[in-house]
């Protein structure tokens, strides 16, 4: 098969940049696509070429197949990397690429058909003899039927988008009273995220762990796994912290789950990078949850302990190369990833888009920042609030935790609110440190994770704030004697002005 010379990355933000970095190292030219809201985005400047594909809402830009393919033709790209989300798990797009004679870097459409629709996936896995979580075999048409089914199997239940994963269009229902609103939210989120509002129901397992297996397959049927990732630190079914190896897995379990994951991938003729997600219950039984037929956000932790570049592998497999390994490498050391979101944990994780006035990222040994932003960038409010992924490596889990805390203590983002302190709260929490935390961890411990106040630091902050205000006012008095009159909002606007002028 021919070498790939130019790749269009059909995505935005950190993952677009991350893919382009590997392309650059491989000497492959890159093409960015952007919506009107992303003209100033980092991925546009990182690429060799960039094309506008429509208005801010993803449905009108990043999700419009024709626009993406048009850009690819204009640029003369011979391959498309979909990243994650958007069109990455859309089989019809894969077919459209084939028709256009452009290599889609990912699994064949058939494998996506088999796995993309979560409900069909469940049926396929049952056929393949893979254990699955009890639930409906099909999406449910009406809220009434859905509610009836929920009553039948009994709450808590999970509402899940059939069209895709990543926590979008997912809702846990604890009380039947909340069913309607949860249903509405799940469907509308699903439509936004995947352009498909089909939702189905699963029984909710108590205190489950979310453990996933990275699989990789070439075009010749060689399929291996690259060990697991522990992703139980979730909020709203959105992963927040991931690590590998999983602190709860024995070598035996790892081998068994890896074997099942490979079986699942082979059952659908999988090619490229994929992830088989499992729920592990308190008795350490594991159930197939879904297969993500694309690169995962959290792939860096796997890269840290294997020394591989998964994006480079994806490209090589798409070029028709054979897998360089024939079996899972033994994990080297430990890696933890934390996701940095533009959101305010203190205000119910309210998204906090806006201008990043100052940014200082951590440095030093064994850490990695996969960012999609830069100082002076304005985070738009149309897309996922994740602005960066910070990952660390260390020989042992204990050291990795200390390193993650150190790295987070160096992360400074100003102008918008982020969850940096919350993340530090998570990796410092005794339950996380002990290693046996289930998917209810973040919700249960919400209060503690906000972090408790250190009176010494509060006093320091108090003193500093007075010095700050004093110097600001002195300076203002000097540089803009007139503004005292302009303080329409009781001087606040004047403060802002002076801070801007600085």
């Amino acid at each position: 098969m021919a070498k790939i010379r130019k790749i269009l990355v059909a995505n935005r933000g950190e993952i677009a940049v991350r893919v382009m970095r590997t392309c650059k190292e491989l000497g492959i030219a890159t093409v960015a696509v952007y919506s009107e809201a992303d003209r100033s985005a980092l991925h546009v400047r990182t690429a060799d070429q960039a094309f506008l594909v429509g208005p801010p809402p993803s449905r009108e830009s990043y999700l419009v197949q024709e626009r993406i393919l048009e850009a690819a033709k204009k640029a003369g790209a011979d391959a498309i990397h979909p990243g994650y989300g958007f069109l990455s798990e859309n089989a019809s797009f894969v077919r459209a690429c084939e028709k256009a004679g452009i290599t889609f870097i990912g699994p064949p459409a058939s494998a996506m058909d088999a796995m993309g629709e979560k409900t069909r996936a469940r049926q396929n896995m049952i056929k393949a003899g893979v254990p699955v979580v009890p639930g409906t075999a099909e999406p449910i048409a009406t809220v009434e039927e859905a509610r009836a089914y929920a009553e039948k199997i009994g709450v808590p239940v999970m509402l899940k988008a059939a069209g895709g994963g990543g926590g979008k269009g997912m809702r846990k229902v604890e009380r039947l009273d909340d069913f309607e609103s949860a249903w509405r939210a799940a469907k509308s989120e699903a439509m936004n995220a995947f352009g498909n509002d089909a939702v189905y129901i699963e029984k909710y397992l108590e205190k489950p762990h979310h453990v996933e297996i990275q699989v990789f397959a070439d075009q010749y049927g060689n399929t291996i796994h690259l060990n697991e990732r522990e992703c139980s630190a979730q909020r709203r079914h959105q992963k927040v912290v991931e690590e590998t190896p999983s602190p709860i897995l024995t070598p035996e379990m790892r081998a068994k789950m890896g074997e099942v994951a490979v079986k699942a991938a082979k059952a659908v003729g999988y090619v490229g990078a994929g992830t088989v997600e499992f729920l592990v219950d308190v008795h350490r039984n594991f159930y197939f949850l879904e297969m993500n037929t694309r690169l995962q956000v959290e792939h860096p932790v796997t890269e840290w302990v294997t020394g591989l570049d998964l994006v480079a592998w994806q490209i090589k497999v798409a070029e028709g190369e054979k897998l360089p390994l024939t079996e899972a490498p033994t994990p080297n050391g430990h890696s933890i990833e934390v996701r940095i979101y533009a959101e305010d944990p203190a205000r119910n994780f309210m998204p906090s888009p806006g201008r990043i006035s100052y940014l200082r990222v951590p440095g030093g040994p064994y850490l990695r920042d996969d960012s999609g932003v830069f100082p002076g960038y304005t985070v738009p409010n149309f897309y996922d609030p994740m602005i960066s992924k910070l990952s660390v490596w260390a020989p042992t889990r204990r050291e990795a935790i200390e390193r993650a805390k150190r790295a987070l203590s160096e992360y400074v983002v100003k102008g918008i609110t982020t969850n940096v302190r919350y993340l530090k709260g998570i990796v410092s929490h005794p339950e996380f440190v002990a290693g046996d935390y289930d998917t209810s961890f973040l919700t249960r411990e919400h209060e503690t994770l906000q972090g408790k106040e250190d009176p010494q630091l509060t006093e320091a902050a108090l003193l500093a704030s007075v010095v700050y205000a004093y110097q600001r006012d002195q300076k203002r008095a000097k540089t803009l004697p007139q503004t005292s009159s302009t303080g329409g909002k009781g001087g606040i606007s004047a403060w802002r002005q002076s801070s801007r002028r600085r």
Binding site: F349, K424, L462, A464, S465, Y468, I492
Partner: protein, 169 residues
């Protein structure tokens, strides 16, 4: 010079006196205690502060009335102002002290659903509007039981941060 600093979540603003003491030094007095603070202002809204030998790297981030102060990973939200400005402030905040409650957009986004009609009686905690930002839907609930007396929120419209959505009285 006297400043008043109000820590987030606290009712009372505490007075702090400050006077320059040469170079980057300041003499601060805060409930009885006096501190000599060596505070070097860096040119990106940060201060390197030394209080007899202890070093604090302080980052400031002004957000509206508040300045967010980041010290060793802890963010403290402080509303600090001199007397004149404090008086001005008092005027503006008096309003919300009444029964009227304004529900404003907590972030820029899009109103995807309005769950009430003008004149509706609402319970405390009842959902009023759903605002979507960054693909997350956020249901804004009523802070009190009362009646919807204003309803500027329209489904499908984009809203700026702090835009008035609902008023409950």
């Amino acid at each position: 010079m006297r400043y008043f600093a109000k820590l987030q979540g606290q009712k009372e603003a505490v007075p702090v006196d400050i006077e320059p003491a040469g170079d980057n030094r300041f003499k601060l007095t805060h409930n009885g205690k006096t501190f000599i603070v060596d505070a070097l202002t860096l040119d990106h809204g940060a201060v390197s502060m030394l209080v007899d030998g202890t070093s604090y790297g302080v980052e400031f981030d002004e957000q509206g009335d508040e300045v967010h102060v980041l010290v060793r990973g802890q963010v403290t939200r402080i509303d600090v102002a001199d007397e004149r400005r404090l008086r001005l402030r008092a005027g503006t905040t008096a309003f919300s002290a009444q029964g009227k409650q304004v529900i404003a957009a907590p972030m820029p986004g899009k109103v995807v659903k309005v769950l009430v009609k003008l004149g509706d009686e609402v319970k405390e905690g009842q959902g009023l509007v759903v605002v979507e930002a960054m693909k997350m839907e956020n249901e804004l609930k009523s802070p009190k039981a009362g009646k919807v007396v204003e309803l500027p929120a329209k489904e499908g419209t984009a809203v700026e941060i702090n835009a008035k959505l609902v008023v409950v009285e």
